[in-house]
């Protein structure tokens, strides 16, 4: 029962309280770049969720079952990059085959998931937080992906409405987007300290 509770708490923690975008400021590039429309933002969130879950689990396994026993922690970053790049390639091929329109609308942002620091960040956090079983690593990785999807969808929703607002000339475009992101982050700061 304790493990189940820990899982649920961990999941909520990584989705809301320790959201990678809002509290760690990771993955800001796609967060601002692909949040113009909700459907695209959701697609991006799904792609990132898939990649982050796959690479979180794989890197945890590689880290705990290969690198640590052999004493090769120095190879951590290199291995993580390898896993993430491989996972992104897989997603790219899958999308191209089954969702060609989504594949085309992502354009350059799909291969750029490779360099999405939210993913690399989560893989390193799993180690930093001292996660010691595979199930918890899986739940946290998936939660981080859901958290990212939530963040980018909220942002896209706000920006869709912002298109109709009377924004001062000097703040149109990137400035108002950054201000929005800042206010949104402050709103989520209200959750800080609830769990962990």
């Amino acid at each position: 029962m304790d493990t189940v509770q820990a899982m649920i708490l961990g999941f909520i923690s990584v989705v809301i309280v320790n959201n990678l975008v809002f509290t760690k400021f990771l993955g800001i590039c796609p967060y601002l770049g692909v949040s113009g429309r909700i459907d695209m933002a959701f697609g991006m969130g799904c792609a990132v969720t898939f990649v982050i879950t796959l690479s979180g689990v794989l890197t945890w396994m590689i880290d705990n079952w290969i690198l640590m026993p052999v004493g090769l922690e120095v190879l951590r970053l290199v291995c993580y990059i390898l896993v993430i790049a491989g996972a992104v390639q897989l997603v790219e091929m899958y999308l191209r085959k089954f969702f060609p329109t989504l594949y085309e609308s992502f354009g350059i942002f799909l291969p750029l998931i490779t360099t999405n620091c939210a993913i690399m960040g989560l893989c390193l956090f799993l180690n930093l937080w001292g996660i010691d079983n595979l199930l918890e690593a899986t739940v946290l990785s998936f939660g981080a992906g859901i958290g990212f999807t939530m963040a980018i969808c909220i942002m896209a929703g706000i920006r869709e409405n912002l298109n109709l607002a009377d924004v001062p000339e000097c703040l149109k475009g990137a400035p108002i987007t950054l201000i929005t992101a800042g206010i949104l982050t402050m709103a989520f700061m209200g959750f800080a300290g609830m769990i962990r």
Binding site: V70, L72, G86, M93, R96, P100
Partner: protein, 296 residues
Amino acid sequence: MIIQITGNEMILAAIDIQSIIYAGVTMVILGGVFAIVLLIASIKLKVVVDPKIEAVHAALPNIDCGACGFAGCASYAKAVVADPELLGKCAPGGADTSAAIAEVLNLQVSGGGAPARPIVHCRAHTADRTYYAQYSGIESCTSANVLPNVQACKFGCLGYGDCVNACKFDALNVVDGLATVDYEKCTGCTACSKACPRNLIEMVPFSYENMMTVACSSQESGKDTRDMCKVGCIGCKMCTKQDDAFFMIGATIAKLDYDKYQSGESAEAAMKKCPTGVIVYRGKNAPAPRAAGQKA
């Protein structure tokens, strides 16, 4: 691995060969496993693309403007390979692109016509218009157009820039309350003409560098138009007497038939005779139109 650091000097006392081998072997195995997984995936998830579609796609301008009626260049390429009758729909590419696609598809094409470019059928700037009230709602022509009295003229340019937002090429600007086309940047993608809620923007075949146009859409009577706008068309029929290409729609507004239009003296004369100066040139090097109230 043991490294001794003394001052600025770094002496590699001993290198543990074993850990280097371990590192190398680990990376080779990991890399190999991922390579095999990706290889299998690339075979299983292979997408077969017709080389003709790729060649047609390469010939297109690749700006995804949607003038052809398809979502983007890629889907137009697919459609035109399947159905060659769709050739020549690419407005930004024009005749050159059609010829390039025809070469890929082994077809014969000739001609292509003049490239179509948008003309805004209004020439009134803020100072030329009459306003009954001040509009302070959402900055969009579509929503402003819902209100009957946003400006006196129910047919003229609203100047909130729906066309500017629709343009992907930065070729439109609202200059002093009037949407103005930059013909150097315009590709003729028709996005602006679809965006205008008052249907002011007409796609005109530019057979000359500068095209003449009746820059007004007002359907009001001559007197009402004159009351509301200093530069509107009052339906005086002066131009129709000078040049055959001009004709009247009802009794209120003149129009230019671009099939008949020839740049020349009679057209110039019609322009000079126009009492309100609503007949103007639009184009890359169009001469500035007469100011409101000024005689030719």
